[in-house]
Amino acid sequence: MSDTLPQLPSGWTAPEAFASFGSFTAPNKRAVEPVGPAFLAHARRTLHGRTWSEDEKIQAQENVIVADVVEEESEDEEGESEELLNHSARDWKTLDLYGALGLKRHRWRADEDKIRKAHRKSVLKHHPDKKAGQQDGFFKCIQKAFEILMDPTKRKQFDSVDSRADVLPPTKFNADNFIELWGPVFEAEGRFSRVQPVPKIGTMESPKEEVNKFYSFFYALDSWRTFEFLDEDVPDDTSNRDNKRYIEKKNFAARKKRKTEELARLRKLIDTAIASDPRIKLFKENEKAAKEKAKWDREADTRKAAEDAKKAAEEAAAAKEAEEKAAKEAKEGAKKNKEAAKNAKKKNKRTIRGSVKDVGYFGESSAAQIDAILSDVDALIEKFDDLELSEVAGKLAGVTDASTVKSVFTESATKHAIPAKFFA
């Protein structure tokens, strides 16, 4: 055998080639058996030149895991009823098998260990040899109960019809005690389930999926419940084979019928529970509310769309109005500007025309000359665009020197090459 170590990863490093990661899981305190040579060596090592203080001795015994716990007195002293004590073992079919062992409250919940311990306790108490002169009827019941309850098949048959373990569905209950009253009902029904553990009823706060799962589990319960225990005794009689077969057949049919009834019973029980489970009611209410809200929300959309449309229309109208107004304003503005420009033009024209008059028509006095001057001026004004008009007007405004005025006109006449009469 060669158990090979892994390779040291490249780059592995630790001071002095040792890395510590953490200590081992806390140990348990147990007693070793003071037996054998190895223990002797251990004792010698431990005892070597040592004495212990009382404290250390006490400490050593604390929290030790003990393998063999001596029978603890059981918490539940269940007295046997007079009826139980007088029960005949012959009528074991009507016997409370659990009661006979003092397990009235545990019933199907008792595991084998518990039954064994309960049986031992009962034997210690009720063995007829312990009570000289007493009937041993009850002891026989104890033994019968133990025999049946320790046989898994027989125990299942008994548990199947152990009505003392049934928890009947409550007839009166309300939302406040639904869980409290129905929980034990389902716990008791769950004992028949092949699948364990069985889901619990939960709380008022359990989510819907959990509640649904719970009920679905029971609807689909895979039950081991059988009804052999209620069989009519088959006669142990070889002479009458027909009768034997007849009873067997009858038993078989009865079992089948009971199983069918059982299925129906359980279904009905679940239906009843669901119909009154306040959580389901709550879930339904919540769903309804949610639906309504969804509807409201959906409607809110159309409402909002309408509102939006209205608002949009309003906005559009306002925008249009504003636009129109702006356009109008712009138009008006333009008119004003035009007028201003017109006025300015008029004014410039006036300035230009007036300039020749202001310099006395350059000293000319003949009507023809004056006419020639004026027609040249008019011809020039005709040629001027707005810009030139204001430029020339600017040059002429307030000028009193005739030659300056004359040069302005002559320059313009040359520029525009008008057939000038005067400014040639």
């Binding site: 055998m1 060669s2 158990d3 090979t4 170590l5 892994p6 390779q7 040291l8 990863p9 592995w12 490093t13 002095e16 080639a17 040792f18 890395a19 510590s20 990661f21 953490g22 200590s23 081992f24 899981t25 806390a26 140990p27 348990n28 305190k29 147990r30 007693a31 070793v32 058996e33 003071p34 037996v35 054998g36 040579p37 190895a38 223990f39 002797l40 251990h42 004792a43 431990t46 005892l47 001795k57 050593a60 015994q61 030790v64 393998a67 063999d68 001596v70 084998e112 260990d113 064994r116 049986h119 031992r120 034997v123 210690l124 063995h127 040899d129 312990k130 000289a132 133990f146 046989d151």
Partner: protein, 548 residues
């Protein structure tokens, strides 16, 4: 040198043994019995013991005392009288258990007195055999004996002039005897000790670690024992007798006692032979009874009892939380364990890796009936040279109580024999302090990593598909279609150890490829884990450190 013996004191039988020169001898009494019935009987002025007393159950049941061991140190109210139904009935003597004997004159014998007389008989047999007076003994009791009951036994023994060196647990005594057989080093293992006696069954799961034993769990069934098998045979033959002679052999105590004695004998015979005859003269109603039974018949009739023995062991293992694969060994103890069916059923139930130690499964196994006495004798000789004070001191909790590892600790490996990542060095449930090492191998190239982990056990299941049937094979005859058995896929379960919590790493540089490396784990008294690793031979690279 003092003369010391070991005593197994059962309700049904007792045995005595002595160690001499490394060999243990189980001592036969004057009748030649090594399993001496724990029975006393009073007839006229005579006292009978052992098999002779047991024989009186037919004629003098009321003056024959049986099954009294479990009464030691108990008030009447707490005893189970079930097993004394066909013998002297214990009665409530002012709260104490006593027997009323009406042989010669009426005499009241307390349980103390009965036990004392029984022990005296045993000691006499031992000293007769050894030829010297007995100076002391180690006695075994079931694990459920309380401290007070153990003390009561010691004080009764004192009255019988027997010094009890130590009272030890029966399963541990049996395991010590088993483990000491053959000269091998103590192995770390988990053993289920199943003690099937006459009136009760006791089980213990014991961890053996470096030769030290720790009882991890126990269980007891006070309604299961060899007498349940006797009962099956009684019913079986009584039915036959009824059919033959139309007479109920069970209704008359003396007839029943005769039948019981013969049925027990028949049962024992069936452990060694495949069939047995039964012959009872004048069994009931003046009729003689002769019959035979074979082993198979017996096993079928006792099926439900056998199932109880098996499930007793199964339930005990379940209680510990162990998997069947964790159980290395089942040591069968007690007279009833000689029944082949019990051992065979356990072999079938447990995996192959669990060794069932019983005469049928292992011819070298020590007689299960003698294991406890042998273990006691070994322990007695081990401690015989000590002062009583030293012995008493060493069994105090300050010495016996020790922290036990909850998880195993080991070193990471790459190619273990199974799919384990970890080679365990310290097993779980090892008492601390402890020092242990294992040898591993360095990798073929490069330096070695010594990584120390806690081990996490894991069960791996591999399915092996059943071989496909050859459909084209011609059917030999019509029946072959029907006789063929459906072969199921087989499941192989294996236990492997996976790496759990990492505790430490060591880098071993410069080791020769494939060199042998010793990894040493040492947990000190103050629960510090020291790890060291060194190359064996070669240039002797070594690293050590303490896990903080």
């Amino acid at each position: 040198m003092s003369t010391v013996i070991g005593i197994a004191f059962g309700n049904t039988t007792s045995s005595i043994a002595v160690e001499k020169d490394g060999k243990v001898e189980v001592i036969a009494n004057q009748d030649g019995d090594r399993a001496i019935p724990s029975t006393l009987s009073y007839v006229n002025t005579d006292e009978y013991h052992g098999a002779q007393a047991k024989a009186q159950l037919v004629r003098h049941a009321n003056n024959t005392i049986t099954n009294f061991r479990d009464f030691i140190g108990k008030p009447f109210e707490n005893i189970d009288v079930s097993n004394c139904h066909a013998s002297a009935h214990p009665f409530n003597n002012d709260g104490e258990v006593a027997f009323k004997i009406t042989a010669n004159s009426e005499e009241i014998l307390s349980v103390e007195e009965v036990v004392k007389r029984h022990l005296i008989k045993l000691i006499d047999s031992a000293s007769d055999y050894i030829g010297k007076p007995i100076d002391g003994a180690v006695i075994a009791v079931p694990t459920d004996f309380t401290e007070a009951e153990r003390k009561a036994l010691v004080s009764i023994a004192e009255k019988a002039n027997l010094k009890v060196l130590q009272v030890i647990n029966e399963p541990t005594a049996a395991l010590l005897a088993h483990a000491s057989a053959g000269n091998h080093l103590p192995q770390d293992k988990i053993t289920v000790v199943a003690d099937f006696g006459g009136s009760r069954s006791d089980g213990a799961v014991i961890a053996s670690r470096g030769g030290m034993f720790t009882v991890l769990a126990t269980s007891h069934d006070y309604t299961l024992g060899g007498s349940n098998l006797d009962e099956v045979l009684i019913d079986f033959f009584a039915k036959e007798f009824q059919k033959k002679f139309n007479t109920d052999a069970k209704s008359e105590p003396r007839s029943l006692a005769k039948l019981r004695a013969e049925c027990e004998q028949t049962k024992k015979t069936l452990s060694n032979s495949t069939s047995s005859t039964i012959a009872i003269e004048s069994m009931a109603g003046g009729y003689d009874f002769h019959s035979t039974i074979n082993r198979l018949r017996f096993e079928v009739a006792s099926r439900s009892v056998f199932e109880k023995f098996t499930s007793f062991v199964e339930a005990l293992v379940k209680k510990t939380g162990f998997d069947f694969l964790d159980i290395d060994e089942i040591l069968l103890v007690g007279g009833t364990s000689q029944t082949p069916k019990i051992a065979n059923a356990l072999v079938n139930l447990f995996p192959e890796s669990t060794k069932v130690v019983a005469p049928v499964t292992d011819t070298k196994a020590i007689n299960p009936n003698e294991l406890i006495a042998r273990g006691c004798a070994l322990q007695a000789s081990l401690i015989s040279s000590f002062e009583q004070e030293q012995i008493d001191e060493s069994i105090e909790p300050v010495v016996t109580v020790a922290p036990h590892l909850t998880k195993s600790i080991g070193v990471q490996i790459t190619n273990g024999t199974d799919k384990s990542d970890i080679l365990t060095i310290l097993e779980h449930d090892t008492a601390l302090p402890i020092r242990k090492s294992k040898i591993v191998v360095a990798p073929q190239a490069g330096d070695a990593l010594v990584a120390i982990f806690e081990g996490e056990p894991e069960i791996v299941v591999t399915r092996i598909e059943a071989p496909k049937k050859d459909e084209s094979a011609p059917a030999d005859d019509e029946e072959s279609d029907w006789s063929e058995e459906e072969e199921d896929d087989e499941e192989i379960r294996e236990k492997i150890v996976k790496a759990g919590k990492k505790l430490a790493e060591i880098g071993l540089e410069g080791v020769a490829p494939g060199a042998k490396i010793e990894v040493i784990l040492n947990i000190t008294k103050d629960l510090k884990l020291q790890v060291s690793a060194r190359e064996i031979g070669g240039n002797g690279v070594a690293v050590r450190g303490v896990v903080a």
